[in-house]
Structure formats: structure tokens, C-alpha cells
Amino acid sequence: MSGRVIVITSGKGGVGKTTTSANIGSALAKCGHSVVLVDTDIGLRNLDLLLGLENRIVYTLVDVVEERCKLKQALVKDKKNPNLCLLAAAQTRDKSSVSGEQIKKITEKLKKDFDYIIIDCPAGIEQGFQTAIAGASEAIVVTTPEMSAVRDADRIIGLLEAADGIDSYKLLINRVRPNMIKSNDMMSVEDVENILSCQKIGIIPEDTGIITSTNRGEPIINNEKSPAGKAYINVAKRITGEEVPFMDLNEPKDFIGKLKKFFSGLKKQGKE
């Protein structure tokens, strides 16, 4: 078995790398694949919090690298999904404690046992970023429809293209607000795509449920009502190769909106 190594990166902080990693990993595991999430954000780890595994971590990536424990000992199994494992980052160290070569070795080992290795990349383009992408062959660039995030994503894409080993990269547009796009207050998904000239793999709508899910330590994909959760499941399906149409974000959510749509459809029919 040789797993796929996917790095989730963005350049800019706060666009949702860690949330994306946790949810895509959980969604893939839910689909029946064996997944390991690797947190490379050493010193500022959060992935364990999002998965609610904070209290189970004994060994970390740094312990594995420094050979204080075996790789398998450092893998923390998810509470709900046995297919999902976490290799946490050390909180008490910094990015310099792990090198790209070491990450590469670890991912090579993990490839044997897991279908997907999702690497959560730290923000920035410094050593932490270089370390995170060292072992990866695919990349998902997370961005939001804001100019600053798009700029940083552009820079990251440039770096990914220059890096060895990254075969393909896809764009994931996070925190999209259809209402703001309608009123021309936000860049549309197409605009972002055009600016970055990069193929998209998913559009995640803005969802307040993300905050509660983060605080509770449960990935939002487990919440079936959440639009963001659905979108993340779709992304996971696209990663596996399944063809899933992109969500229609303009679809009215409430009953009145649906009623309006229904009546407008009737009018059109009448005119015809």
C-alpha cells in the first residue's frame, strides 16, 4: 500500500488550514480510508484540539524525529473513527526541531500503512512551510475571497511550483459568503480562480458552526446539517477521485426563499 501525501497550506494564517485538515481527514476516514493527520505546526499546534485528542498525546512528531519513541507509539487514534490517526506536533518546541528530510522519512514510513497522509502546514513561507511540503506530492492551497489571502496563496503556489515533489495542487476557497458576493462586496469564486489560475477542489461556505465544532473538538463533518460540513465531505470525495458537483451556494436556505423560487419558476412557466 502506498498512500497519498497531501499537504494543506495557505501562506496566510487564519484562513482555515487546520480546520480543513481536520475535516478532510475525518471525512476521508469516514469514507473508509485509513488516514493519518500530521501536524507540522510545531509550537502552535491546534489540530489535536480540533479533533478533541488533546488529552491523549504523549509522544509527538519531535519525539519520533529524535527517536525517543517509535512512530506507531506517537500515533493517536481518533475517538470515533478508528481509521483516523493523528501525529501531533510538539507544543514545547519550535519549527527548527524538525527538518524536511526527517518529515520525508516519516511520510515514507506512514505511506506503507495509510491511504492518505494529510499534512497540516504552518502559516508563512519559512522553514516550517518548507519542512511541511518536503514529504508531500500533492497540495491543497486554502484561501479566502480576500485580497490579502489571495496574494499569499499566489505566493505559495509559486513556491509549490518551484518545489520538488509537488505534482499537483488544487485550490480550496474557504469562508465564502454568497450574500456578499451577490452585493459585490466579496470576490466571487470565479474571480479567485481566475486571479490564481488554479483549479479549485472545493468551496466552503462561511459557517458559524465551525466555531462551536472547534471549541468542542468535533470536526464539523459529523454535523449533517452544516453546509460547511457537507462541503468538506464533497472535497474529500473529490480527493478520492469521485466527481461531485460543486454546491450551489445561492440556493435559498429558508422556507420563504424556497417558496419565492418556486413561484418565480411558475411565473416563467406561465410566460412561456
Binding site: 478533541g52 488533546e54 488529552n55 504523549v58 519513541c69 507544543q91 514545547t92
Partner: protein, 595 residues
């Protein structure tokens, strides 16, 4: 209790066995014996790799004789994986592994442990061991107890030690309403009314209150006392100045030192004329203070303007000049060991509308307001009367031992007749009752409970409830470790290692790690990872005001925070119950202080 659990542990060593079939064969022969029944069985396996079905069959075998498979010791990685998935504790995962137990089990609370023990007991029906549980419930540290009691005491501000040592019970208040004064007199509460300017001058030494309404009075006094206690630094300054001021009047001080209770009386002639009694009491000993006066509130009335306003009222007030006031403060403010009560009961005849009594300290004589003198001419023999006072300190008299009321000493050449002419406190009270009636509702407003004594009692009760902990040899060894004190908040990513005990005054945030060879004591919320007895000392303990640790590790025992515990935010309150974690039979159990 630990013995009980140890007794209940049954280790089966099958490390020499090489195949799964042999394991089951050996196991079934061992399990036939009576010893293995109703036990927590720990299996020692060698390199044998077991799959899930095999392990399940072993588990069912063990549960068949009403025992539980509580631990597994294996060198095989496969077996470890399977065991973990079945929720069995695995120790000695591999040879290279330095840490023996993974935090697969959440740490228990004392209640859970008790429940578990209860189940064991009901199985064994051993009543004798019930006592062990009871004794184990009261596990606490006396040091921690004191720490927790203290903050409460500070809040309540009624502890006598605090009052005596650090806070001077001198409260100055402005009172503009004569009604307030009446009530104050009835309740033997004394009030200084001062000029604000004067107060500003003496601001560093005196904390004052402005009170215009009687309802406000109670609250205000309470807050003043609070302020005093919250500002010990200011208080120290005041205490120093007070001492200096006292030294300036050595004669008076010696006098007060010789007698437990003294009263100064001024202008007895005027008092007689205007049917006013002025009683000053120096109370130096807290015992006396408790007996005689419920509170230590002083009020100066100084403003001539307010004086005019209150001139027509029945009750007389003290009037002081700014200069005089400073001097009066000297007498009001005292040593830290002294509690000074200035009891002023003033009466006025209904006919004397503009009668005033100048009632303050011995040095009242200097600089009196001319206006006052003019107003007071009717009452005072002459305007020169006050000037005479400046020359003749004989107007200052001391009555010793208010409680005894018999041993009276006069100082400063004070004629004894004057002393005799002064009615005693009880008599004054009686007279006041006759004049104003003893209205309990009115008095209740100004009744201050001396709760200092009560606080003592409460502390004693607490000490009774929580027994002294018995120290074992190991505990003493732990105490002999060097101890590191850290007075800061330990934040995420910070690591503290020490080859001894660690005491942290502050919180330990999630993501922090504390590793100590000895005990870890956190005077705050422990939310990070704490590893006590890192060198293998299983007697080490982790203590915290609030135990919210992500992981607790003691020696080679690891435990994680139960998932049921809310992790988002721990509200900081004053009602934390200190908790202590220690090892009970290879499991970390958190005991609450008052369990």
C-alpha cells in the same frame, strides 16, 4: 484502600508461552483455581501476537469467573494494537519504550474510585475494609488548607489578626445630618466630622468617608474597612506615622499603656453646663474592645458650616479646627496592636440650641475658630476658656478601665473632681435611653457586629473538620527535596523541569508541561501536563486548586483528562476546592480536599 486494590490484583505470568493456543490452555488451568476469582487480572504475555478474536476469547474466559482483565503486558505490537482497541491497559509496549503506560485511561475521581471499591467490597462482603475508605476520603494537605482559608478571610475582612496587625480601624466620616449622629450616639459609635481640606492634608494617614444619609452609613463603613484591608501598603504608611505621632506625646502614651482603658474628657464644666457628656475611650486590648465596643468607627465633625446647620439639633457634635484635627488624628490613629475606640456620647439640653462641645484630643486648645468661640460663648464660661485650655492641659483627663470604672487616674494635673463629675458609660447610656428612647430599629442601623471573634471560631471549626495528615517516611523524603517556587502563569509551550518539588503560584495553561522529581503544587488552575515523581517516585503527588490537567503523570503512571470534562474554559471563582492526585494501584486518582 491501596492494599485492598493490591489484594485484588492478580498477575498471571505467561511470558514464556509462545503460541496463542498455549496461552488459552495455560490460562484456563490457572483460572480454575479459587484465587483468581473476583480479581483484576493482569496478564503478562511475551512476544505472542494475538488477534482481536483471540484476545476477546481470553477476556470472556476471565469474565467467566467474575474477574476482569484490567491490564496487559506484552512485547508484541499487534497484541498491543488489539488490546488498545478493546480498551485494555497496555504496559511495557516495547523494549525500547521508556514510558510504560499510555494515557489510555482517564484519571479517576475519588467518587469513581469509591464506586469501584464499593463494588469490590460488595463482592467480598468485607466490612472491615470499609473503614479504610472512610479514612482515605479525608485526604488533604494542611498547607493547602491554610492557603484556601486565607483568601476567604481576607474577603470577609473580619479576622482579628488582620485588623490588629495590618489594618488600623480608623474610619473618619463626614456627617452632616444630625439624625445620624443621634443614632450613632445610641449605638456607641463615634464619628469624627472633618473638614475636607484637613482630610486632604492628612490623606496619607487617614481614610475618610463622607456620609450624608444614615442608610448609606453602614455600607460606607463597610467599604472603608475593605479599602483599608485592600491597601496594606497605605496602611503601613499610616501605621508608621501613627507611631511617630504617638511618640510625640509620650506622656499620653505611657498613660494609656499603664491602663487598659482610658477615657479622655474635656471641658467638664462645659459638659455640666450643657448637660453634655463626652467620653473618650482608649482601648488597647482587643478583648476589652470586644466587651465594650462593637465597632471601631470614628467620626470627626469639624466643619463650622455643618456645625451651624446642626446647631439647632438635640445632639452635639465634635467641632475641630483643622490644626486641631491633625492632632486629634494623632490620638485616633494608633499602633497596630492597639485598637482605639473613641466613644463620644454627647447630650444636649433641648433648650441650648447653639450649644457645642469641642471634644477632641488633648491638644484641642491650640487655634480654635473664633466663630465657634463666639457661638459658644453662651455655653463656655468665657471665650478665654479655650485659651486657658491651651495653657492648662488639666482639661484632659483620663478615666482608666472603662469596664471597671473604678480605677481612675488623672493625668496632667487634672482635678479628680472633674473625673468624678463625668458620668460613666452605662449611666450615659441610660440617660440616652431616657431622652431618646431605646429604639432598636434605630440602633440596628449603626450596630456593628464584632465578627472578629466569630472568624476565629470558624477557623477552629475548619481545623477540627479536617484532620492532620499522617506523614509516612516517603512523604518526609519528598519534603526533603529542594523546592522551586515559581510565581507566574505558566503558558502554552513553556516547560518547567526541576529535580525536586515545584510550587507554582499561578495558573498552568493548556500546553504547558511541568516535570518534577517530587511533588507538584499549583496554587491556581492546573490545565497543562503535570508529571510528578518523574524519576519514578510513585508517592509523588500533584495538587492544584482546580485540577483540569490535560494529562496527569505520576512516576510511570499516565492518565488523561476524562473526555466528559468541559475543556473550553474554567471560570475563575473563589470557591475552588483544592484537589490532589496520587497513585492508587497504578491508577491516578484525583481526590477532592473535602471528600
Amino acid at each position: 484502600m491501596e492494599e485492598l486494590l493490591k489484594d485484588n490484583m492478580y498477575v498471571i505470568d505467561l511470558s514464556n508461552v509462545t503460541t496463542p493456543a498455549e496461552i488459552i490452555f495455560e490460562l484456563s488451568s490457572v483460572l480454575d483455581t479459587e484465587e483468581a476469582k473476583n480479581k483484576r487480572i493482569c496478564l503478562k504475555l511475551g512476544n505472542v501476537g494475538l488477534n482481536q478474536a483471540q484476545l476477546l476469547s481470553i477476556k470472556s474466559l476471565i469474565s467467566g469467573i467474575e474477574s476482569t482483565l484490567s491490564g496487559l503486558d506484552t512485547k508484541s505490537v499487534d497484541t498491543e494494537k488489539v488490546a488498545l482497541s478493546l480498551g485494555i491497559i497496555v504496559s511495557n509496549v516495547s523494549e525500547e519504550n521508556t514510558l510504560e503506560i499510555k494515557p489510555t485511561m482517564p484519571y479517576k475521581t475519588a467518587e469513581e474510585l469509591k464506586e469501584e471499591l464499593h463494588n469490590i467490597q460488595s463482592a467480598q462482603q468485607n466490612k472491615k475494609q470499609d473503614e479504610q475508605i472512610v479514612s482515605s476520603e479525608h485526604i488533604e494537605q494542611p498547607e493547602v488548607l491554610e492557603q484556601t482559608v486565607q483568601p476567604e478571610v481576607l474577603e470577609q475582612t473580619v479576622q482579628p489578626e488582620v485588623l490588629e496587625q495590618t489594618v488600623q480601624p480608623v474610619v473618619h466620616e463626614h456627617i452632616e445630618q444630625p439624625e445620624v449622629h443621634e443614632q450613632a450616639v445610641q449605638t456607641v459609635v463615634h464619628e469624627h466630622i472633618e473638614q475636607p481640606e484637613v482630610h486632604e492634608q492628612t490623606a496619607q494617614t487617614v481614610v475618610q468617608e463622607h456620609i450624608e444619609q444614615p442608610e448609606v452609613h453602614e455600607q460606607a463603613v463597610q467599604t472603608v474597612v475593605h479599602e483599608h484591608i485592600e491597601q496594606p501598603a497605605n496602611y503601613e504608611q499610616t501605621a508608621q506615622t501613627v507611631v511617630q505621632e504617638h511618640i510625640e506625646q509620650p506622656a499620653n502614651y505611657e498613660q494609656t499603656a499603664q491602663t487598659e482603658v482610658q477615657e479622655h474628657i474635656e471641658q467638664p464644666e462645659v459638659l455640666e453646663q450643657t448637660v453634655q457628656t463626652v467620653v473618650h475611650e482608649h482601648i488597647e486590648q482587643p478583648e476589652v474592645h470586644e466587651q465594650t465596643v462593637q465597632t471601631v468607627v470614628h467620626e470627626h465633625i469639624e466643619q463650622p458650616a455643618s456645625y451651624e446647620q446642626t446647631a439647632q439639633t438635640v445632639i452635639q457634635e465634635h467641632i475641630e479646627q483643622p490644626e486641631v484635627h491633625e492632632q486629634s488624628i494623632q490620638t485616633v490613629v494608633q499602633n497596630t496592636t492597639q485598637i482605639y475606640t473613641n466613644t463620644t456620647t454627647e447630650e444636649s439640653s433641648a433648650s441650648s440650641d447653639n450649644s457645642f462641645v469641642q471634644n477632641s484630643s488633648h491638644n484641642l486648645n491650640q487655634n480654635t475658630n473664633e466663630e465657634k468661640q463666639l457661638q459658644n460663648t453662651e455655653l463656655h464660661d468665657t471665650t478665654d476658656n479655650t485659651e486657658k485650655q491651651s495653657d492648662i492641659p488639666s482639661n484632659v483627663t483620663y478615666i482608666t478601665n472603662l469596664t471597671n470604672n473604678k480605677e481612675e487616674q488623672s493625668t496632667h494635673h487634672a482635678p479628680e473632681e472633674i473625673n468624678n463629675s463625668v458620668p460613666q458609660k452605662e449611666e450615659i447610656q441610660d440617660e440616652l435611653d431616657v431622652i431618646f428612647g431605646s429604639n432598636p430599629v434605630q440602633t440596628s442601623i449603626f450596630e456593628f457586629k464584632d465578627t472578629t471573634g466569630e472568624q476565629y471560631e470558624q477557623r477552629e471549626e475548619l481545623n477540627d473538620i479536617i484532620p492532620e495528615q499522617e506523614y509516612t517516611k516517603e512523604d518526609i523524603e519528598l519534603e526533603e527535596f529542594p523546592t522551586k517556587y515559581i510565581k507566574q502563569t505558566i503558558r502554552s509551550g513553556q516547560v518547567i523541569n526541576y529535580d525536586g518539588n515545584i510550587v507554582i503560584i499561578g495558573d498552568c495553561h493548556p500546553g504547558s508541561e511541568i516535570t518534577a522529581a517530587g511533588d507538584i503544587t499549583v496554587w491556581g488552575i492546573l490545565s497543562g501536563i503535570a508529571h510528578a515523581g518523574a524519576n519514578g517516585n510513585q508517592k509523588a503527588r500533584v495538587r492544584a486548586l482546580k485540577m483540569n490537567a490535560i494529562q496527569l503523570r505520576i512516576a510511570n503512571c499516565y492518565s488523561r483528562r476524562p473526555d466528559s470534562m468541559n475543556t473550553v474554559y474554567i471560570e475563575k471563582t473563589n470557591t475552588f476546592i483544592p484537589e490532589e492526585a496520587r497513585i492508587v494501584n497504578f491508577e491516578i486518582v484525583v481526590f477532592k480536599m473535602n471528600d
